[in-house]
């Protein structure tokens, strides 16, 4: 790359930070809209990644523990610029969340205690369980492809509610069950 084109393009680290900052600031709920934004920016516009790179990044990102989109930012940043790239991407993604949530939390602490706010919060709390259930409903097809997985989910539900076993241990039991059970090859892509 000659001097002139270098000057016209901002450094890659800055682009990564800026792009993920934008995603962190403007994306609600997370998930799939982010992937199409990454596709537009990095595969089509800048051509830093191929389509298949992005598919690999997304499939590994959602199979690693942690926050899916932070995982994706780390993987994508590494692909483009190595370890500094992943750190810049992850920082860009989380910085707006921390700033916005700090302001919101202080505001929440300031207004709570007011009678009307308490009533509004009681209404909002009433909506949280249906929000969780509706989100779980969307996960149903990917999470429960067959009878064995339904039984696993039921076992996890009962253990989590009645056994007092830590959730982390229940997940490890799930890992074990996944490794032992050999019938699930067909959903490798799902």
């Amino acid at each position: 790359m000659d001097q002139e084109t270098k000057r016209r393009h901002p450094p890659r680290g800055l682009v990564l930070f800026g792009m993920f900052f934008k995603i962190g600031l403007f994306t609600f709920g997370g998930g799939w809209s982010i992937i199409s934004q990454l596709q537009d920016e990095f595969v089509e516009k800048r051509q830093w990644l191929t389509q298949s790179d992005l598919m690999d990044i997304v499939s590994v990102g959602r199979s690693m523990p942690g926050i899916m989109i932070v995982n994706i930012s780390v993987l994508l940043g590494y692909r483009v610029l190595g370890v500094p790239g992943s750190i810049l991407s992850a920082m860009g993604l989380t910085l707006p969340s921390v700033l916005v949530l700090t302001a919101v939390t202080l505001f929440y602490n300031f207004i709570r205690g007011n009678l009307y706010v308490e009533r509004a919060m009681a209404g909002v709390r009433a909506s949280v369980v249906p929000i969780i259930l509706a989100a779980a409903l969307k996960l149903r097809r990917a999470s429960l492809p067959n009878l064995v997985s339904c039984l696993l989910a039921l076992a996890a539900l009962l253990l989590s509610l009645f056994s007092g076993i830590s959730n982390l241990v229940i997940i490890l039991l799930g890992v074990l069950a996944g490794l032992l059970y050999r019938g699930g090859k067909s959903d490798a892509v799902s």
């Binding site: 921390v98 919101v104 009433a126 009962l158």
Partner: protein, 176 residues
């Protein structure tokens, strides 16, 4: 040492979550067992994190951190929740293409996904216990709001911020 405890708690939350709401059961367990948040506040976090931009996990960690010990604590919590991404996932980045086609990873996820599904349902049950009881009596209005929200979300495909707005307004009007 609050910072260290908070950090370790969120490292656990990070390592135990695989996408979206699967973090809630762990946050619920870690926060309430340490007495950092009540079950009601855990519900508030979910609502607040859904109404604000950014990922649920970072938003939850910031909120819980501030409530448990102020701004410094929130940075510690966020760093904790990002630990799996910055360690395990960074390691995975090196072997990206090989991993994405690995049958082992697919098999492990085949076990993890249903387990997370079951635990999400369990957290819906435990949060119900605090959200539909007002002064240890069942609140009929809260249950009706919950039922309405479920219909709006599933049947009419409303967005989450919209149903949160509606339920806040109904709360002001109906809940005494």
């Amino acid at each position: 040492m609050l910072y260290l405890e908070l950090f370790l708690s969120f490292v656990k939350v990070g390592f135990g979550s695989f996408g979206g709401l699967s973090m809630i059961p762990l946050i619920n367990q870690e926060m309430t067992s340490h007495g950092w948040l009540t079950a009601g506040e855990v519900s508030d976090i979910v609502a607040i994190a859904e109404m604000t931009p950014g990922s649920l996990g970072v938003n939850c960690a910031t909120f819980a951190g501030i409530q448990a010990g102020g701004f410094g604590a929130s940075l510690v919590a966020v760093l904790g929740v990002m630990t799996p991404s910055l360690t395990l996932c960074l390691l995975a980045a090196v072997f990206l293409a090989k991993l994405s086609r690995s049958p082992w990873l697919a098999r492990i996820m085949g076990g993890i996904r249903p387990v997370c599904f079951g635990m999400i349902l369990a957290s819906a049950v435990t949060l119900s216990a605090s959200n539909y009881l007002v002064d240890s009596a069942v609140s009929l209005w809260a249950i009706l709001i919950g039922a309405l929200v479920l219909v709006l979300l599933v049947r009419f495909r409303w967005s989450v911020p919209a149903v949160i707005g509606v339920s806040a307004a109904l709360g002001v009007l109906l809940i005494r």
